[in-house]
Amino acid sequence: MSGIAGHGAAVHIENCGKTFPDGTQALAPASLDIVSGETLVLLGPSGCGKTTMLRIIAGLETPDAGGRVLFDKTDMTAVPIEQRHVGMVFQSYALFPNMTVAENIGYGLKIRGVDKAARAARVAEMVALTNIGGLENRRIDQLSGGQRQRVALARAVAVRPRVLLLDEPLTALDASLRDRLRSELNSLLRSLGITAIYVTHDQAEAMELGDRIVVMRKGAIAQIGTPREIYFAPQNRFVAEFVGAANIVEGPVASGRLTLPGGWLALNDAADNAAAVAMIRPETIGIVAEADAFLRGTVESVAFIGDRQRLVVTGAANKPLTVDAPNTINVRAGERVGLSVTPQAVRVLPKED
């Protein structure tokens, strides 16, 4: 597939930090390796440094002294963005209003001196790839948000960038369109085999698109891992709570058991600890008869959501537990229930300050 996308570079980021002139540190020195052809998602709340990281890779920000950015082992740190051969997609689309759709897509080729015929062929290829046939001669203000973002993507990919950089590309779209474009974008990135770095604050986007996810917090990397690792094995409380819903429970661990106010949970090889913190995902908790469980509680509320029902159970842990139960079981508020959780589903988190 390198024909349509060009070669995706392997990106190596070494000790890249960013301190702004006013002294605020947007990014603590961090290192990252992005494999050729991989989609890496930078995920975190606003102000976590994910956009700064992207801009350093793009060449729109210079890292603090000591930081280096390498594409395929070539040092790019001092190379300005116009010579880095990256493709960028912005949340604001950033399409040129004085050009038509086709002129927008062909702009990078024109600047690079590609002749008219080759340019037209490449633009046609991009138009087909991003499903915007028929819009070539439209002005940008005649396009919907979804169409604009497709044009922006086509424009960025048209130049066969070494790295495709996407900064919250779907955030400005409404929810249903966002979902559709997300899966389209996913299959596009897979089929192109392009190296892509994708910034988002939306964990569903990160899960679907990322080969790996870098969770960031307050200018530092909180965890790097595949979506499954991030979801099932968060390394700290921040990641556990930021990605998906999580119950955080606290209690003493002794001889493989976590003791809670409503009973106890079996753990997989956990060290004894007088005050342990553990995470349990709501969908991993089973509702069983009170007599069949070692952990019991009282159903405080039941919310029917359609594909499942969300229960809040009190008395089991130090805080109310959220439980995603199948939509078929019959429970009512006030009922006493037993909770079954497999040892694998209980993730003991390291102690934090």
Binding site: A58, L60, P80, I81, E82, Q83, R84, H85, V86, G87, M88, F90, S92, Y93, A94, L95, F96, P97, N98, Y107, G108, I111, R112, R139, I140, D141, A152, R155, A156, V159, L165
Partner: protein, 271 residues
């Protein structure tokens, strides 16, 4: 009282003022213009009479030159001022916009202080080359004066337009390989187009009609407002001065209208 009547009553003062101070004098001016020895053809004199035509061309060229020079200077300054933060920036912007507060007479006075017979440039050139350079009393002095009070208006408009410009546009162009010069040519200047048209039209119309500066610098500078003044006060040629006034007004108005329709289209295109 109905809602509609209430609105009409509120509009009444405006109607009275418009009629008394705008429509009636304009009608009178039109009538006077046509009431001279030339009759209605006085309105064509601005084009047919060689002396008037030369003055008209002079005025338009001066106004156009002022507009172009102002746009170039103010765009560069406006882009810089809006995009950079440095100590003294606020003071500099305040200083640049200061001429807005000056009447044309004061601007003319400043030009004389700079390039007049006792002016700074004259003193310096006399000391350096032995020859005193004086250009305050020429059309060039007038050009300088117009530049001086056109720049603030254009700078403020350009700065406002630059502020609204999505920085992402420039970053996108750069990521696609555009050099800084190409970014300006392909992205920034087209996006500022409506602001150029709007502020350029104001600069042009002002330079067409400004009188105070020209009058302060010299009474023999060949521009339309001065011509109207001399025809009116010295030659007492009421019909011609009225016709010239109408001509000046129509040209300035036409330029503004053209600019407005152009910038309207451009604004729509910019989405």
């Amino acid at each position: 009282m109905s809602h509609r009547n209430f609105i009409w009553i509120c509009l009444l003062p405006l109607v009275v003022v418009t009629a008394a101070f705008f429509l009636l004098p304009m009608a009178q001016l039109l009538a006077v213009g046509a009431g001279g020895s030339r009759g209605v053809s006085a309105y064509l004199a601005i084009i047919t009479e060689p002396r008037y035509r030369a003055t008209l061309i002079n005025t338009v060229v001066l106004a156009a030159a002022t507009t172009v020079a102002t746009l170039v200077i103010a765009t560069i300054a406006g882009l810089f001022l809006q995009r950079h933060r440095f100590p003294g920036r606020a003071v500099l912007i305040a200083m640049l916009t200061f001429p807005l507060a000056f009447p044309g007479v004061v601007v003319g006075f400043l030009i004389i202080l700079l390039a007049g017979r006792q002016g700074l440039i004259g003193a310096i050139t006399a000391a350096v080359t032995g020859e005193k350079v004086v250009f305050a009393y020429s059309i060039f002095g007038l050009f300088l004066g117009y530049l001086y009070f056109s720049i603030p208006r254009v700078i403020l408009t350009v700065m406002a337009a630059v502020q609204k410009l999505d920085i992402g546009l420039e970053e996108a162009a750069r990521s696609l390989g555009a050099s800084p010069w190409a970014v300006q040519r392909d992205v920034v200047l087209p996006a500022l187009g409506p602001a150029f048209v709007a502020s350029g039209a104001i600069a042009f119309a002002t330079a067409m009609g400004a009188f105070g500066t020209a009058f302060t610098l010299a009474t023999n500078i060949d521009v339309l407002p001065m011509l109207i003044y001399t025809e009116f006060t010295l030659a007492a040629n009421f019909a011609i001065s009225a016709a010239l006034s109408i001509g000046l007004g129509v040209i300035a108005w036409a330029i503004l209208a053209l600019a407005r329709s152009m910038s309207g289209g451009a604004v729509a295109a910019a989405g």
